[in-house]
């Protein structure tokens, strides 16, 4: 089998149809367990975030976060080259991948060169984008998640339902049952007991893994430093114990200055989980040096594009790349809270997923993502780097019906929702509104024959009553009042 053919087959094998958003949403809304698990978790996360920012000038801090990210994006190609040069000087090997398939092959080649059979993984959303675990397993390399949430999700053969809390869709009872079935622990609602068992199982895996695979939260160009944010210590284990560490990261994660991470870290942990800081902030700048007694002898970084350089082309869409993956937008989203993360069928769920995933899967596949929102604006208000998510949702809605001459559509798969009939109706609407005589005739006829208006108007009346014309037009009423 050729490499490309293989790449596409491994992706289609675990394919979820993104287009089937509505049936999944309906099922989730009628599932009280899902509703309860998400509601409880999101309420907790929202109130923790709020108290974590008490005493801060949050607007100014968010401005700083946005500016740091914009400054980085403004010189992205130069920064990537600087990062590559610094990392290389530090002894870290840099790889570049155009898409997820190429990134998977790079990771495999590193494993094969070391004759590696087992990989232990720290949490990485980019590796989820790549569907790395399935790929490695097909290649005969065991890839085991070590973040407790990711470990649970992997045992359940599911995907994360939240980017920070992957197993948030399950309650303790469900997790206890799963761990009992898969690892033989006793059924128990004692979280300490369940956690202690996972610790035991995974410690052995850390000791024996041939390779450790992690993500990156920030990559600092001036020093060639990879920063990882975590609470459990599995990230440190993954990047310190195995003899080889492979970090996979999106190309947008680079920042110019080490100083930049201080503000981004302050925003990230408070926005994500309401923590002042996580237990560990891990800064890695080189493999084990000659006289050092531990740490991996080899460190690799895979810089993954996967659609990012295309998003980068457009001034408005570019803002999507500021994201620091805190998850605050989903925690505050009324839609996400009700339908849960799996409903989206995408690697990144919630508001950030709705503006990011159409670029990765195409607007034809992802046509329902930009409309899975009430445009209430909460996501934009809490975003620590001020991404105008609601504006981007509107932009993508426009793109999905192909916009107009002033707003040429650019995103792959644009126009998938354009309907000839609808376009014609709007054209007629605008034509009529430009002709006062015709407009009056039309509205007065409409008012006379309002009884003939349909009571059901497609999807609109699934959850709403149909709009009805008033018995008298505005012009008629004004006339009656003698004005």
């Amino acid at each position: 089998m050729s490499e490309t053919a293989h790449g596409s087959s491994h992706h289609s094998a675990h394919h979820i149809d993104v287009k089937e958003f509505h049936p999944r949403a309906r099922a989730a809304i009628h599932n009280p367990q899902v509703r309860q698990n998400f509601r409880k978790a999101m309420d907790g996360l929202m109130s923790k975030r709020k108290s974590a920012f008490e005493g801060w000038d949050l607007e100014t801090l968010r401005d700083l976060g946005a500016n740091i990210r914009m400054r980085a994006l403004a010189s992205l190609p130069d920064l990537l080259e600087q990062l590559e040069q610094k990392l290389t000087e530090n002894g870290i090997t840099v790889h570049w991948a155009a898409d997820g398939d190429e990134a998977c092959r790079i990771v495999r080649d590193i494993c094969v060169a070391r004759d590696a059979k087992t990989a232990i993984k720290g949490k990485s959303m980019v590796s989820e984008e790549m569907e790395l675990n399935h790929y490695l397993e097909e290649q005969g390399i065991e890839a085991l998640e070590s973040d407790l949430g990711e470990y649970i999700v992997q045992l359940a053969e599911e995907t994360p339902s939240h980017i920070i809390m992957p197993a948030i869709h399950k309650n303790t009872g469900e997790i206890s049952q799963l761990l009992h079935d898969k690892t033989g622990t006793d059924l128990s609602n004692d979280v300490e007991y369940l956690t202690a068992n996972a610790r035991l199982q995974l410690r052995e895996k850390f000791r024996n893994a041939d390779v450790g695979i992690s993500g990156v939260n920030f990559a600092v160009a001036e020093t060639g430093t990879l920063c990882l944010v975590e609470n459990e210590g599995n990230g440190r284990m993954t990047t310190t114990v195995p003899p080889c560490h492979i970090a996979v990261t999106g190309i947008e994660k680079v920042v110019p200055k080490l100083e930049d991470v201080t503000a981004l870290l302050a925003l990230l942990t408070r926005s994500a989980t309401g923590q002042h800081i996580t237990t560990y902030f891990n800064m890695i700048s080189s493999p084990r040096k000659a006289n050092e007694l531990d740490g991996p002898e080899e460190v690799h970084v895979v810089l993954v594009d996967n659609g990012r350089s295309t998003i980068y082309q457009d001034d408005e869409l570019l803002d999507t790349l500021r994201c620091i993956r805190c998850g605050a937008c989903m925690n505050h989203c009324p839609v996400y809270t009700r339908v849960g993360g799996h409903t989206y069928g995408t690697t990144y769920p919630g508001p950030i997923g709705k503006i990011l995933m159409p670029h990765m899967v195409g607007l034809d596949e992802g046509r329902h993502l930009p409309t899975a929102s009430s445009l209430c604006g909460a996501c934009g208000e809490v975003c620590p780097v001020k991404i105008p998510i609601p504006d981007l949702l509107v932009r993508l809605r426009q793109e999905s019906v192909d916009g107009d001459k002033l707003h040429p559509a650019k995103v792959r798969g644009h126009g998938a929702k354009r309907s000839g009939v609808e376009a014609m109706i709007w054209k007629g609407w605008s034509w009529m509104h430009a002709r006062p005589g015709l407009y009056r005739l039309g509205t007065s006829l409409g008012a006379r024959f309002r009884k003939l208006q349909p009571g059901k108007v497609g999807a609109w009346t699934q959850y709403r009553t149909a709009p009805k014309l008033a018995p008298k037009t505005l012009h008629e009423r004004m006339k009656e009042r003698g004005q």
Partner: protein, 219 residues
């Protein structure tokens, strides 16, 4: 063309044209000028809120305090660095006292004793390169003498912090110590023992790293 060159070319030939970089004003991170005592109070409060344990002690009293702490936990073994003054002080102390656990020196590459490190060491003691009051964080700067796993694998991590080396914020610490001039293989901020809330947002400590973090503050 390689993927590298293709990516860089696409970024350079951006259809939207050149981007301007905004100014970044970090003054929002500034905090009032706290005294050492205020910083220590803040540090203690913050790290204790996430299950870190702080013991205030002195240059002459810390070994006594350490012995009490380890005895109360029933620790049999303590991992120390070979050259660092902390390890040196402990080694000479054990010559004339018996209340300290057996000292293990981290002086061999990990490959030769990995299993023992994971299964037989009860506690590890490291120095710090200062602390951060605002977030209750320790700055760890592992070296050839004080390797990375000392503060990660043993169930109890004891860190020695000089009160005079407490900074107010992360930004202060990084700028004052001029980190940008050269980073070590691995630098860390550690703020409490290892923890998780991945099971229904219920906090549990000691998931992969140390279950306890004990800070000896030398005043």
């Amino acid at each position: 063309m390689s993927s590298r060159d293709a990516i860089l070319q696409r970024l350079r030939n951006r259809t939207g044209g050149e981007l301007t970089a905004p100014e970044c004003d970090f003054s929002v991170l500034d905090r009032p000028d706290w005294s050492t005592a205020e910083r220590l109070d803040m540090f203690e409060r913050t790290i204790e809120s996430v299950h870190g344990e702080v013991h205030r002690t002195t240059e002459s009293g810390w070994i006594d305090r350490l012995a009490e702490i380890l005895q109360s936990r029933g620790a049999q073994t303590l991992l120390i660095a070979k050259e660092h003054e902390i390890g040196q002080a402990l080694r000479s102390a054990t010559k004339n006292r018996e209340d300290l656990p057996q000292l293990l020196v981290y002086d061999e590459p990990i490959e030769s004793w990995q299993e023992a490190l994971f299964n037989e060491v009860d506690a590890g003691i490291t120095s710090t390169r200062g602390g951060i009051a605002e977030t209750g964080s320790l700055i760890l700067w592992p070296t050839a003498d004080e390797p990375r796993l000392m503060s990660l694998v043993p169930p109890i991590h004891i860190a020695v912090l000089k009160a005079s080396e407490l900074y107010t914020t992360f930004h202060d610490a990084m700028q004052s110590q001029n980190w940008a001039a050269g980073m070590p293989t691995n630098a860390l901020l550690v703020s409490g023992p290892s923890k998780t809330a991945d099971i229904e947002q219920t906090l549990a400590y000691g998931v992969h790293g140390p279950k306890e973090l004990i800070v000896l503050v030398i005043e």
